[in-house]
Symmetry: C2
Subunit: 227 residues, 2 copies
């Protein structure tokens, strides 16, 4: 089956989610953060994800912005930074201005030149996604920015992946789904999409019921899979 | 409302789950493991839990023994130990002979002396739980060992917490639920149990919709809450 539609996860896949803590650590007077920003960013991300999964199981959905704040609060507490409300505001503000990974604009341009529909499918709140898309300047390549807010549950619930067919009228096997999150690629593979895991960190493949069809170290060569 | 029934999570709460990797690291000729066993144990546990949550969301249940093996395979791969099938077997075998934390037998004895029903409610497979209960010698204090296998979904799905009322005929507010996993204590609090988080690691409280009612550093003083 020919791929007609390329769908991308947002955070960690198109946008560099560790950028927020790294950039804040580079500011003057942030020595305490500079010493721990990598662990802080990892804990922030881990708790953010855990909270999405736990809320999906118990049916207690909230916006991704809320779990982003909740994850940061846990991580700042863990690293003894919870007495610094100014730092909290700086880190949260940076989350609205995430950079795209460097290969992303040219990769999306190639897909559009090949006639593919391109979209984001993300846990992110519509306003968070709008901010990141605008800041990174990739909006011109995107036919849709789909947020789980429209279905009220986080990935990898099937209702989220259903949004692609609803929006584009395509069958699952016409969709190439791309995520840097192994569990998201696995969930999408189980749904029936052809999947690419952008394994930026060089991690082992997740031992879940479904495996990604392709594994790349970044997105540079993605158009060769899609076309 | 009087507490009639004390229900315990198993792994990390009554049984020391990091013991398997630590004991294996102490064996002669295991220098490579000795250098990384703490990170290996943490990654093993993290992936084991992630896989339970992801399978609960997608409805792809399997036994806890399977996700325990899956998590270990990921962690051994991550740490460059995936070329050592003998080590894999040693680590998995130790999982069937986990020690109870030192304060556990006397704590359970006090609860029984006070007339409380005591039970385990665990993600673990019945055979894994049977092995750990037998090895640790705490079976004499337990009125029931409840496994999620009977409902076919992992915590914190409500169906799991339902098992307590089904078994003991008690109302949620008669139950004191105890877990070292903050997310499990939070899920049980949302269900309606009175909850204790055994915060053995000194971690920040999870920013989830429900908070534990009590936080202890270990289980020594638990009977004072229950009685």
């Amino acid at each position: 089956m020919t791929i007609t539609t390329c769908v991308f996860d947002a955070y960690g896949t198109l946008f560099d989610v560790s950028a927020a803590a790294r950039q804040a650590a580079e500011q003057p007077g942030r020595e305490k953060l500079a010493a721990c920003w990598q662990a802080l960013a990892a804990d922030w991300r881990n708790k953010q994800l855990q909270y999405t999964w736990l809320r999906a199981i118990t049916g207690e959905h909230t916006s991704f912005w809320n779990v982003t704040m909740d994850g940061l609060d846990w991580a700042m507490d863990k690293h003894g930074l919870d007495d610094d409300p100014e730092l909290r505001e700086i880190l949260l503000a940076l989350y609205w201005e995430l950079a795209a990974y460097r290969e992303v604009p040219a990769m999306l341009a190639r897909l559009k030149a090949a006639g593919k529909a391109c979209a984001i499918l993300s846990n992110g709140s519509p306003d968070m996604l709008e901010g990141a898309v605008e800041f990174s300047g990739i909006g011109t390549y995107l036919d849709a920015v789909l947020s789980v807010e429209d279905v009220g549950i986080f990935k990898p619930a099937r209702q989220v992946y259903d949004m692609v067919g609803t929006r584009f009228g395509c069958a699952p096997d016409e969709v190439l789904f791309v995520s840097s999150n192994g569990w998201d690629a696995a969930g999408a593979a189980g749904y029936g999409f052809t999947t690419v895991w952008a394994n930026r960190a060089g991690d082992p493949v997740d031992r879940l019921p479904h495996r990604p069809h392709h594994i790349l170290s970044d997105l540079t060569t993605l158009p060769e899979i899609a076309t």
